[in-house]
């Protein structure tokens, strides 16, 4: 079959401006996008830069956008992309600095962020011979999380990264989970402390795009939420967002609905005078419109006791 590839180009040694090159070539019916790229480099244009490593879906290196969607070039079968016509566009991943053509900066995108979460275990220095005893359930969960092959699809689909590239992102946060939840890690509080800081778990907007994108069903969002729970349970909650969560939950548990006034005040922190002062202009405006909720002067809603029971039941189950 004859297919035309429209490939993103960028040359850091020339003007570094994005462009596109078109290549038309003859391919076998079972060709993958990587097969096509290798053929282009060999027969048409040896200046085309792209990465490829294992060639069969194991290693995650050849990630790129094929007709706009992120996927591995080595498992992308050409016929799957030519249903609307014999043209395929190839681009590097979104929201990532591009170095040259389809070669983007994995370090900035992922490897450096993983380094930030202190990605190693501090082993217990016990005099016991032999392996640590561990439950298969715990190990199975870790193996699931460690089946992450750093394909980058979760970070690529993340809705926060385009707005704030400094956000650690689902891949690095999942790595933090792997370490925080490994019972053999003497230092598991370390990872929680790191990710509880700005640009960490609290910056996730739980849009669940990461879970939708992950090809291995690792559910990064679930892991981020688990880290938040761990942060709460360990008393590691410095951020306003954490206080916001705690206040929201308390309010709903006690009265069945949200005490907005209390929420605003407790999110800033009862002793945070500077923060509380910042609320005054908004409070004044709300008062003028007759919409100012007075903190703690808050009635319970009907059936509030039923809602309280739901909280208590959930708390029981967690134990």
């Amino acid at each position: 079959m004859e297919i035309t590839f429209k490939v993103y180009r960028k040359d850091p040694e020339k003007d570094g401006k994005p462009g596109r090159s078109n290549y038309t070539l003859e391919l076998a019916e079972d060709a993958t996008v990587l097969d096509a790229l290798l053929k282009i480099r060999d027969e048409s244009d040896s200046t085309l830069s792209f990465r490829g490593c294992c060639g069969r879906g194991y290693c995650g290196e050849c990630m790129m956008r094929v007709n706009g969607s992120a996927r591995l070039a080595c498992t992308a079968k050409v016929p799957d992309y030519t249903k609307k016509g014999p043209e395929i566009s190839l681009d590097p991943l979104r929201n990532v600095p591009v170095i040259k053509d389809l070669v983007f900066d994995w370090d900035a995108f992922m490897w450096n962020k993983i380094k930030e979460v202190k990605p190693w275990l501090e082993p217990e220095s016990s005099p016991v011979n032999g392996e640590n005893l561990a439950s298969e359930a715990e190990m199975q969960d870790l193996r699931k999380v460690m089946s992450c092959f750093y394909c980058g699809m979760c970070d690529e689909g993340c809705t926060v990264l385009p707005v704030d590239f400094k956000f650690l992102g689902p891949a690095a946060l999942t790595k933090a989970y792997r370490l925080a939840f490994d019972p053999r890690n003497k230092d598991s509080r370390e990872q929680v402390k790191i990710v509880e800081k700005p640009k960490g778990i609290w910056d996730c907007v739980h849009c669940y795009e990461a879970d939708e994108h992950c090809p291995r069903g690792i559910e990064p969002t679930k892991r981020i939420v688990a880290l938040r729970d761990r942060a709460f349970n360990s008393g590691i909650t410095h951020e306003a967002v954490a206080r916001h969560h705690a206040s929201f939950a308390s309010s709903v548990k006690e009265s069945g609905w949200l005490d907005e006034g209390r929420l605003a005040v407790e999110s800033e922190g009862l002793t945070n005078v500077k923060g509380l002062m910042k609320l005054l202009p908004t409070a004044a405006k709300a008062l003028a419109r007759g919409k100012a909720p007075i903190p703690y002067m808050h009635s319970k809603r009907p059936d509030a006791d039923k809602i309280k029971k739901i909280f208590e039941k959930a708390e029981q189950e967690e134990k």
């Binding site: 480099r41 060999d42 040896s46 490593c53 294992c54 170095i99 193996r143």
Partner: protein, 540 residues
């Protein structure tokens, strides 16, 4: 210029383990890898790591199984060291955080694998290699070892017969830099990419062995190349772990008849059985995973299920998987002793690129990953000790300038109308045909002639892409050079061994010849061509 006590070349399991142990032994360490460590081939190893942990097991039993798989070509002292240290290394991995599968008591679960006579293989689903690699990389990062990722080593530097470092090209910045070190450990992986198809990755091109060969080191048992019996035959073959056979999968011919009980046989025997079935039956052979059952397939072979679905479009709970034995990994490589030392002072080798006599003529399934960590640790410690003993040899300042000139030559002049891919494809085809499971004297002679003509064509090619930044035409060019060099060595060694033993089978010498051939083959580069020697198996 970069300076380290110990320089590790290759970021897979054995390289990372060596780097960690050298650092912990007090040396300053640097690591160079042409791809990021988590993209290396260790990620593809599936089945598990052997260790004689069970109560009814012992290093002696483990050694006996290793000798049997090695068809009497294993060096006893190396086997002894390996089988005695395996358990310690595997426990170390667990303590560093590898989430191995567990039994009901919470201990490491041990499964049957290949021709191990006992259950002694620790595993992490069917992704053991990848998970072990991740934990090694975690500990590597803990040691804060400078890591030069996407750097391609272009030469080793030898001064007065001693290896004093290497020169490498940074793909990202396009610059050549020198890496001075007192100990250089090659951990650069296998070379089976010169078989097409094979289970090799694009970069499995034997650059380390080629560099060592050119630096004067000897290559041992290069004719011993392990074929894997269960490979879905794409160009980059998709391998199914032998643990599937142990779990109940069957190999069936095109009539659906099960090929005689292959469970527990050494790999080369399974390959030969399948090969004969294909020759005699005249049809293809398939793997039937259905007897394992849906639950166990999902639980124990999740990656196998996923990849066969995405790459081959097969549902292993319903479909048969067409398979063929394909070239998998080298058993031979750079000759080393049990401490990882090569015949070139200052140069060490470990892992897939090395050959220390452990595996003989056939590797016991499950030994490879254990080998990577046991000998990785040893090589690191030996290299660190070597680096602190004795005076430092200076790195010749002119070397980088010389290398620049050499590199420039590859870009200059008119390139012939040939292509790298065409030469590679022809090489891959001829190796499968003439240096496959069963070889013959005439076939090997023909192969030698064909390789020489391919080398000639290669020498008339030039690199057309003038850039040095992420120039994969350049790296492919250099990789093809490594493959042509090593292909010739393999053919020479295969031609020399006039017997059939383990992974090396000769149609014209069908029997094992213990009188003349209880020896390793050695090839060294002398006056521009390969010279052959024999080294008797160590009785130890």
């Amino acid at each position: 210029m970069q300076e380290f006590d110990v320089l590790v070349i290759g970021g897979g399991a054995s390289g990372l383990r060596a780097a960690i142990s050298a650092k912990r032994a007090g040396a300053s360490v640097g690591l160079i890898s042409k791809v990021h460590p988590l993209r290396t081939n260790s990620a593809i190893a599936q089945g598990g790591l052997n260790a004689p942990l069970a109560k009814d097991d012992s290093p002696d039993s483990f050694a006996a199984d290793t000798f049997l798989a090695g068809d009497e070509l294993c060096d006893r002292d190396v086997v002894r060291a390996f089988t005695q240290e395996a358990s310690k290394e595997v426990i170390w991995l667990e303590r560093m955080g590898v989430p191995f599968n567990r039994d009901k008591e919470g201990r490491l679960d041990l499964r049957g694998f290949g021709s191990n006579s006992r259950n002694r293989t620790c595993y992490a689903d069917d992704r053991t290699g990848y998970i072990v690699l991740q934990v090694l990389h975690e500990q590597f990062q803990r040691e804060q070892i400078p890591s030069f990722e996407e750097w391609f080593v272009t030469s080793l530097v030898i001064e007065g017969g001693i290896c004093v470092g290497a020169i490498a090209l940074g793909l990202r910045n396009g610059k050549l830099d020198s890496f001075s070190a007192r100990s250089i450990i090659l951990a650069s992986g296998g070379f089976t990419r010169f078989y097409l198809p094979s289970t090799a990755s694009l970069g499995t091109t034997g650059d380390g062995q080629s560099l060592a060969y050119e630096a004067g080191a000897r290559l041992m048992d290069m004719e011993m190349i392990q074929f894997h019996p269960l490979v879905f035959p794409k160009k980059q073959g998709l391998l199914i772990t032998e643990a599937a056979l142990n779990a109940g999968a069957l190999i069936v011919n095109h009539k659906g008849e099960s090929i005689t009980d292959l469970k527990g046989m050494p790999r080369h025997k399974i390959c030969l059985s399948i090969h004969h079935a294909m020759q005699n039956g005249g049809g293809g052979v398939s793997l039937d995973l259905r007897p394992i059952g849906k639950e166990k397939l999902r639980g124990y072979f999740p990656q196998t299920q996923e990849l066969l679905r995405t790459v081959a479009g097969l549902d292993i709970t319903k479909d048969l998987v067409p398979i063929r034995p394909l070239a998998h990994r080298p058993i031979g490589g750079i000759e080393t002793n049990a401490a990882g030392e090569t015949s070139v002072p200052g140069l060490f080798a470990v892992g897939e690129c090395a050959c220390n006599g452990l595996n003989g003529a056939g590797r016991l399934a499950g030994n490879t990953l254990t080998e990577a960590v046991v000998f990785g640790r040893r090589a690191g410690e030996t290299a660190a000790k070597h680096a602190t003993a004795g005076p430092k040899k200076s790195f010749p300042a002119a070397k980088v300038a010389e290398e620049e000139k050499q590199l420039a030559r590859l870009f200059s002049g008119e390139s012939s109308k040939d292509s790298l891919a065409k030469i590679h494809s022809e090489l891959g085809h001829l190796m499968n045909e003439k240096v496959g499971l069963i070889r013959s004297g005439t076939g090997l002679q023909e192969a030698l002639g064909q390789i020489q003509s391919l080398k000639d064509r290669y020498s008339r090619l030039r690199v057309k892409n003038p850039s040095r930044i992420y120039n994969y035409e350049l790296t492919s060019y250099l990789e093809l050079g490594s493959m042509l060099t090593l292909a010739e060595v393999v053919v020479l060694a295969a031609g020399a061994r006039t017997e059939s033993r383990g992974a090396h089978q000769r149609a014209d010498f069908a029997e094992r010849d213990d009188t003349n051939w209880k020896s390793h083959t050695l090839v060294s580069l002398v006056g521009g061509s390969g010279q052959l020697q024999k080294k008797p198996v160590a009785a130890g």
